[in-house]
């Protein structure tokens, strides 16, 4: 499984993002944090980043998320130093720290490759977190699955909408089945998105009472839809 390293100027922030991301993935995904200087002052140290990467390194690779400025430079230098030792499956992500870490653990937990995790996390950059811009994300293309897919619909019961925690559960459940799945928010007329990506799910801006459509095709399409519908009807375990 791909590992995640969080680099910040602040040790507390790096540790905090790690804690948040671990909570989202039930500790399945290896995560390490690097931040702050030896004396506790804010800053980054490339050697700390090297150690963090080394501590969770695996052949599948490690994705590094950094906050800003020197964190990015230290991460780049750490990547270079490790590559010189043959530890070269290390990528830097341009994604924002919190959204990126969340997207990264969900994607990594699905057993995705480093390339896939990197791609999923890049999307986090475009997350309209106030739900205001979701309509302009993609062209209004008809679903690619339409001809052969089965569909289910449900009304979102969660008072706070499809926020991060239910979105993670939704993505994890969708990933468990041998099926191509798409989801859209009919109430907001959102485009079809990939429900295995938590960022895509957050982008459909689903609020309580919105009607959500899910389509699936493939060997386990029916089971997938059943599981997702049940999950939604249980309020994603929030009630």
């Amino acid at each position: 499984m791909v590992g995640i390293v969080v680099v910040s100027h602040s040790r507390k922030l790096a540790e905090g993002v790690k804690e948040l991301a671990e909570g989202m993935s039930n500790g399945q995904v290896p995560i390490a944090a690097a931040g702050g200087m030896e004396d506790g002052s804010p800053g980054t140290d490339a050697y700390q980043v090297v150690e963090a990467i080394r501590s969770i390194y695996r052949p599948e690779g490690v994705l590094v998320l950094a906050d800003l400025g020197s964190a990015v430079l230290s991460a780049r230098l750490a990547q270079e130093m490790l590559a010189a030792e043959g530890i070269d499956a290390v990528r830097l992500s341009p994604a924002p720290l919190v959204e990126g870490a969340l997207a990264a653990v969900v994607e990594a937990a699905q057993g995705s490759t480093l390339e896939q995790v990197d791609a999923a996390v890049r999307e986090a950059k475009y997350l309209a977190k106030l739900g205001e811009e979701q309509i302009e994300i993609e062209e209004e293309a008809p679903s690619a699955l339409q001809m052969v897919a089965v569909e289910t619909r449900f009304v979102l019961r969660n008072r706070l909408g499809l926020h991060a925690r239910p979105a993670v559960l939704f993505a994890q459940t969708a990933a468990r089945y041998q099926a191509s799945i798409e989801a859209r928010n009919l109430t907001r007329n959102s485009p079809w998105v990939n429900p295995r990506s938590v960022i895509d799910l957050l982008r459909i801006g689903a609020s309580v009472g919105d009607l959500i459509a899910v389509q699936a095709s493939g060997a386990e399409a029916a089971q997938a839809l059943e599981a997702l519908k049940q999950l939604a009807e249980s309020g994603f375990g929030e009630e």
Binding site: P42, D45, A46, G69, S70, L73
Partner: protein
């Protein structure tokens, strides 16, 4: 001729200069950055002095490498990985030398500059330390090509570094924290370009004090 004692003298002068100019660098950084460049540079070079004392008698690359590692591990800001890479890459280019010829000195700065560009991805004109370092290196090269002696070449270098540093005043920052200010970064001298100038000035001082 520059030998390992000159390099150690350079680093000691650099540490003193960073201490003396801590407030100045931090004030420059306060205008367009996060007001920590002076503090970070002082901390970094202080650490470097502690770490180089056991290797002072070794080859030049050992001293430069130790300096680079100290800066990477203690500066904290972007200057850490940037100056750290400068010294690490210079060390790599100069392995097992006890004295530097003119060509070696050019190689030191050339490798260091390339390292900074690789890690920082800045170009000339982006309002960074590159704007000091690049013209300084060119001046050093042309001084030697012209046949001047070491001290004279370093004076050319310092002059070009100073002009390079001052050239950052009207520039709009393209890299680092200052770039968030966009047009508002113009009118301020870049703190990184300034610390680079100070380091080059210290090298001239070190060579002059030993001749």
């Amino acid at each position: 001729m520059i030998n390992n004692r000159t390099i150690v003298a350079w680093l000691k002068l650099a540490a003193r200069s960073m201490e003396e100019n801590k407030g100045y660098l931090t004030d420059l950084d306060a205008a367009i950055g996060d007001a920590d460049h002076g503090i970070n540079m002082e901390r970094g070079f202080k650490k470097a002095l502690t770490l180089i004392s056991p290797v002072e008698d070794r080859d030049i690359d050992a001293i430069l490498k130790t300096t680079g590692m100290a800066l990477i591990g203690s500066v904290g800001g972007a200057a850490g990985p940037l100056y750290g890479t400068f010294f690490l890459d210079a060390a790599k280019a100069l392995s097992h030398l006890n004295e530097l010829s003119n060509t070696d000195l050019v190689l030191l700065f050339e490798s260091g500059l390339k390292g900074i560009q690789r890690v920082g991805k800045a170009k000339p004109g982006d309002k960074t330390m590159i704007d000091t370092l690049q013209p300084a290196l060119e001046a050093l090269r042309s001084a030697f090509a012209y046949g001047t002696d070491l001290i004279e070449a370093l004076r050319w270098m310092v002059q070009a570094a100073k002009e390079g540093m001052e050239s950052t005043i009207p520039m709009v920052a393209k890299k680092g924290r200052a770039s968030y200010l966009g047009e508002r970064s113009a009118g301020h001298q870049d703190p990184g370009a300034t610390s680079t100038y100070l380091l080059i000035q210290c090298l001239l001082d070190a060579v002059e004090s030993q001749s």
